[in-house]
């Protein structure tokens, strides 16, 4: 197998689901790991807002419950991200990606502000519709080539993967990874978000990088 991300360093087999580590996926995996550790150890940012036109300012407090929930969601998001980085099974990959989507909805939605929750709701609808092309792409791949293993698909043995399946896969990942747009709109400036909201952007970036490798390999 000659992956676009370099020669595989080693394989980890769980039955027919094989995780494979190439220099590319190892780098992405380590990044996800580092960010998950950062999400575990860091504390929520407390924002200070200046009242317009005066010298007064007020600080925003974050309740412990909210912080705890968002931290849990960030850690879950990091774990799902790590799984999506190294998995060698196409359907497994789509499941991890949709898990990243759910966690991102959770991170954004935990903020108890009306406009943030509106954005989270719209993003959730996009993420849910994106599961159609995501699962569709994996299913069409399995139907035409008879396998879901990226390692088998990487060799010439398992016929070519139809273009429509690759396109659907990319479209699905784009839908699930839309979080940063909604998060930026609703959160970055208005709600106390760091460091957990960074996880939204970061996980989206990672799954985008990984899906490029997947589509080029299969």
């Amino acid at each position: 197998m000659n992956s676009i991300g370099g020669a595989p360093l080693f394989f980890l087999e769980f039955g027919d689901i094989v995780l494979y580590f190439t220099p590319y996926t190892v780098a992405l995996f380590l990044l996800a790991l580092v960010f998950t550790v950062l999400a575990i150890v860091s504390r929520a940012e407390n924002q200070v807002e200046i009242v317009f036109g005066t010298d007064a300012y007020y600080g925003k407090e974050i309740s412990v419950d909210e912080m705890r929930f968002r931290r849990f969601m960030s850690i879950a998001c990091g774990l799902a991200c790590m799984g999506a980085m190294v998995t060698g099974d196409l359907f497994d990959f789509t499941l991890f990606v949709s898990l990243v989507g759910i966690c991102n909805v959770g991170i954004v939605a935990a903020v108890k502000t009306k406009h943030v929750q509106n954005a989270a709701f719209q993003y959730g609808i996009v993420a849910l519709t994106a599961t159609v092309p995501l699962f569709g792409g994996a299913a069409i791949t399995a139907a035409t080539t008879g396998t879901l293993s990226m390692i088998a698909l990487g060799t010439a043995l398992a016929g070519p993967v139809p273009f429509i399946a690759q396109a659907a896969l990319v479209l699905g990942v784009m839908g699930e990874g839309m979080a940063p747009f909604y998060a930026a709109k609703a959160e970055m400036f208005r709600a106390p978000g760091a460091p957990y909201v960074i996880m939204c952007s970061f996980s989206s970036l990672l799954i985008f990088l990984r899906v490029v490798e997947v589509v080029l390999t299969i």
Partner: protein
């Protein structure tokens, strides 16, 4: 050219287009939430078109992901529209005599479910238990059922680890997984609809 798979795919794509069009035209958030459920079905349809036992294994996680996102979205909808529990208005129907439904129906369903075994059997046995609770009024000990569901899920997962790492004991794993999924689906089915609402002790 037009074999069964292509025809099925055409039908699924058409229904997908209809569902997406409906979603694009709809402006009300609650209706969009309901339409999302409709959009979810073509995605399961595409997977089911594989028509092998692999499809069965793939539909289940797809369904779980869909339901999880739907639950999360409905919760966000409740929060953002600030909807709370309203005081429940009970129907006051005067009944001359309250009689319980015969237990034998529930027993028959459970026994038939046990004979079928596996996923279908779990569904039918669960239906029997739901029927029993509905007939008796639900004041039973649900924490016991939750524990049973959790433990059987554990058995199921352990069996899969046996499949992966100790394939020579596959017979034991088949028995464990079969019993586990039967108990799990039974317990889950009987919890459906009863765990919502008031927090219980």
């Amino acid at each position: 050219m037009w074999n069964q798979y292509s025809i099925g795919m055409a039908v699924v794509l058409a229904s997908g287009v209809i569902a997406f069009a409906a979603l694009a035209f709809e402006r009300d958030d609650l209706h969009r939430l309901l339409l999302i459920d409709l959009v979810e079905i073509p995605s399961l349809g595409v997977v089911a078109l594989l028509g092998t036992d692999l499809a069965e294994a793939l539909v289940l996680p797809g369904l779980v992901v869909g339901i999880a996102e739907l639950l999360a979205l409905s919760h966000i909808y409740l929060l953002k529209e600030d909807l709370r529990d309203r005081p429940e208005g009970y129907l006051h129907i005067e009944v001359v005599e309250i009689g319980h439904a015969p237990v034998i129906i529930a027993v028959l369903l459970v026994v038939y479910g046990l004979i079928l075994s596996g996923f279908t059997g779990g569904g039918i046995a669960g239906l029997g238990i739901v029927f029993f609770f509905m007939a008796k009024g639900h004041h039973e000990n649900f924490s016991l059922l939750e524990a049973a569901a959790g433990i059987s899920w554990g058995i199921w997962v352990c069996s899969f680890f046996v499949f992966m790492f100790l394939p020579q004991y596959w017979m034991l794993a088949v028995l464990g997984a079969g019993a586990g999924i039967l108990l799990k689906v039974t317990a889950k089915m009987s919890l459906v609809g009863t765990m919502w609402g008031k927090p219980h002790e």
